[in-house]
């Protein structure tokens, strides 16, 4: 796995059902079921899907903010370095790995301690991770702020003195401080106005090149995903239904759900969205997903055989679809095991 920074295989996670005795004790609600993907080094992989599809849980499981019930997460901090089995690490080993694997959250308002100045937030991180010693701290702080487009006078201010966009820049600076290899960004611009969102997306793009970062980018917004992603994985009810390059997903989507999502995005350049009718109904509860293909209860093409688990079909090299109705490209038949 020389060129892959993150490899996830068959990841599972279930949350405890909320305290309703009706459902009995110890019952768990599956949130992620059998998610697998590779993130090539230096690229951006976008996990996209609607609320409740499990995309944030995947991110949290990779960071072990939740403990996945099964699966494998391999992380190679540097090229040529043997991958680390993240789920097999003990607490101390995990702490040593954390600097390489950082996260930026949606809400810059709640992810910063309101009582700490920017100098303390970032300074303590730089010292703790031994990025610099005390003597080199001041120039390192100023350098870090300038990388995220903030002036040195931000150092002695507190989170409430900043706008949403500035706070997200500080959150990004905090994630960058320990010199990560991989940045997991969970809806990093969803709370921002569109003009500020553009600034932050430009910043993330520049840092990717300058720092050689790889991104796992989690978003519900397909127009942003189209802009930032090299590869895209579309999730529905805890599973990846389609994955491929940006062009695969946006120019030749194969899964009916991907097509419906793309058709539902409103755009300023097209009078009406809805190539065809909008998707009917809502996402079923993850406590009782449909058997077989999980999308079949909303799928306009559903047939009898969709009651069975769909095969993984490779419609092109690297472009995989979980659907009974997709036909593989000739000579590239790669039907994998059904689950």
């Amino acid at each position: 796995m020389t060129d892959v920074v993150l490899r996830v295989r068959d990841l599972h996670h279930a949350y405890p059902a909320q305290g309703r005795r009706l459902w009995g004790r110890g019952r768990r609600v599956p949130a992620v079921e059998g998610v697998s993907f590779d993130l090539p080094r230096g690229q951006t992989l976008a996990l996209v899907g609607e609320s409740g599809c499990g995309k944030s849980t995947v991110a949290r499981a990779i960071l072990r903010l939740v403990e996945p019930s099964a699966g494998e997460v391999l992380f190679a901090a540097r090229p040529g370095e043997g991958p680390v089995d993240v789920l097999g690490l003990n607490r101390a080993q995990l702490r040593r790995l954390r600097p390489r694997l950082q996260m930026v959250f949606q809400d810059p308002w709640s992810s910063l301690n309101p009582r700490l100045s920017v100098r303390r937030v970032l300074g303590e991180l730089l010292l703790f991770h031994r990025v610099v010693d005390r003597g080199g701290l001041e120039p390192a702080l100023i350098d870090l702020l300038s990388q995220v487009g903030l002036d040195a006078d931000a150092l002695d201010r507190f989170p409430h003195e900043f706008s949403g966009g500035e706070r997200q820049r500080i959150a990004i600076a905090r994630a960058l401080a320990p010199r990560p290899t991989l940045l997991i960004a969970d809806e990093p611009t969803s709370a921002l106005d569109v003009s500020v969102q553009a600034q932050v997306l430009n910043l993330l793009a520049r840092l990717k090149v300058e720092r050689g970062l790889s991104y796992l980018f989690i978003s519900h917004d397909l127009s942003i995903v189209r802009h930032v992603a090299d590869r895209v994985a579309v999730m529905y009810l805890g599973q990846i239904v389609e994955s491929g390059t940006r062009e695969d997903i946006f120019e030749r989507p194969a899964h009916p759900y991907t097509r419906a999502l793309l058709g539902a995005i409103p755009t300023v350049s097209r009078a009406k969205a809805g190539q065809g009718v909008p998707l009917r109904g809502e996402v079923p509860s993850s406590t009782s997903p449909p058997s077989g293909c999980r999308f079949r209860s909303r799928c306009p093409l559903a047939e009898e055989r969709c009651r069975l688990s769909p095969p993984e079909v490779s419609v092109r090299p690297g472009h995989r679809v979980h659907c009974h109705l997709s036909s593989p490209v000739e000579g590239d038949r790669e039907e994998s095991t059904q689950r």
Partner: protein
């Protein structure tokens, strides 16, 4: 209905010079600062703006629902031939219940958690349409069905926490529609919804509008959503309308640098991976608006005149159906033009 019938030339809603003040420090601040707005019967007007632009408070000001300690300081809100600002509280409440309705982003906040959604609609019907309990119940079930809620008889008894976000929004729309309003004000009604559900709700609003002939004031930060639903769009910045016109024309050839900047910062209109053209800076904070043109601190066309002279809405040359509050509206470059 009482009062003289409006002459046919008068728009349904005619807002002039509306100014709403809030105390700030020793002085007062005007989040809504001299707004003119017209909306014809059956028309959909989109109101665009970033957070803090004053668009939500404009809606509340129109409805006479400005929260304490704010107050309306100037202007008129003519609706159906009378000035709502001159009505006594009793008469205003009656207009709000019968002719005007409001829905907003978070229906959970609007729905009573201890009353079923059906019972809440019954209350509205008894209060505003004087129906008896039986007739009101039948009408409420019909209303829930009309907004596309499957199995309305059974949903009548559901509480808001038992409904998904999409169903809650449908229930709130049902409640707003039972009084047969002439004008529905919708403040970010789809912002909290997933994109496939958003498409359904937009379709529903368009259907209800064509079947009832009501007018719609649709407030959103999302230009793409407005382009799906609005006949005309007005763009608000720092308390003022800076541009308005037919939605299509406005988004194809904006005549105000702010509208142009918003459109250019959209990932949708930029080739994947290319740098987004972000507006610099952020909207002015309360009490820190620049003199003259409020947008000048972020504007690429700024000249000396912009600091001394506040621009007013006027028709730029070659675009008689658009209004722009910019001294240099004629010089605003085309969307795809030089940056």
């Amino acid at each position: 209905m009482s009062g003289p019938k409006p002459p046919s030339s008068e728009p349904l809603l005619d807002v002039r010079g509306l100014r709403t003040l809030f105390p700030i420090g020793d002085g007062e601040f005007a989040p809504v600062d001299g707004v003119d707005l017209r909306l014809g019967a059956g028309e959909t007007l989109g109101l665009a703006g970033e957070s803090g632009s004053g668009k939500s408070l404009l809606a509340l000001s129109i409805l006479g629902l400005v929260p304490e300690p704010g107050r309306i300081a100037a202007g008129s809100v003519r609706f159906g031939g009378r000035d709502l600002l001159q009505l006594d509280p009793e008469a205003l409440r009656s207009v709000r219940g019968r002719e005007l309705a409001l829905i907003f982003q978070e229906p959970a906040a609007a729905l009573n958690p201890v009353l079923s959604v059906g019972e809440q609609i019954v209350e509205v019907l008894r209060l505003h349409r004087g129906l008896d309990r039986r007739a009101a119940r039948a009408e409420a079930v019909r209303a829930l069905g009309e907004v596309g809620i499957a199995d309305p008889e059974q949903r009548f008894g559901s509480y808001s926490h038992q409904l998904s976000g999409g169903l809650r929004q449908r229930a709130m729309i049902a409640m707003a529609m039972v009084s047969r309003p002439k004008l529905l004000i919708a403040d970010e009604p789809t912002t909290a919804l997933d994109v496939t559900i958003q498409a359904q709700v937009l379709e529903l609003l368009a259907e209800l509008q064509s079947s009832t002939g009501m007018a719609l004031l649709f407030i959103s930060h999302d230009l793409a959503v407005l382009s799906q639903i609005a006949d005309r769009t007005a763009v608000m910045y720092a308390g003022r309308i800076v541009e308005s016109g037919p939605t299509r024309a406005l988004f194809q050839r904006p005549r105000h640098p702010y509208t142009l900047g918003l459109l250019r910062s959209l990932p949708e209109l930029t080739p994947p991976g290319a740098e987004l053209v972000a507006l610099p800076g952020q909207p002015p904070r309360p009490g820190h608006r620049p003199s003259g043109c409020r947008f000048r601190s972020r504007c690429s066309l700024v000249q000396e005149r912009c600091a001394s002279e506040e621009p007013h809405l006027g028709s730029p040359a070659g675009a008689s159906d658009q209004l722009s509050a910019c001294h240099f509206a004629a010089d605003v470059p085309a969307l795809g033009g030089e940056r």
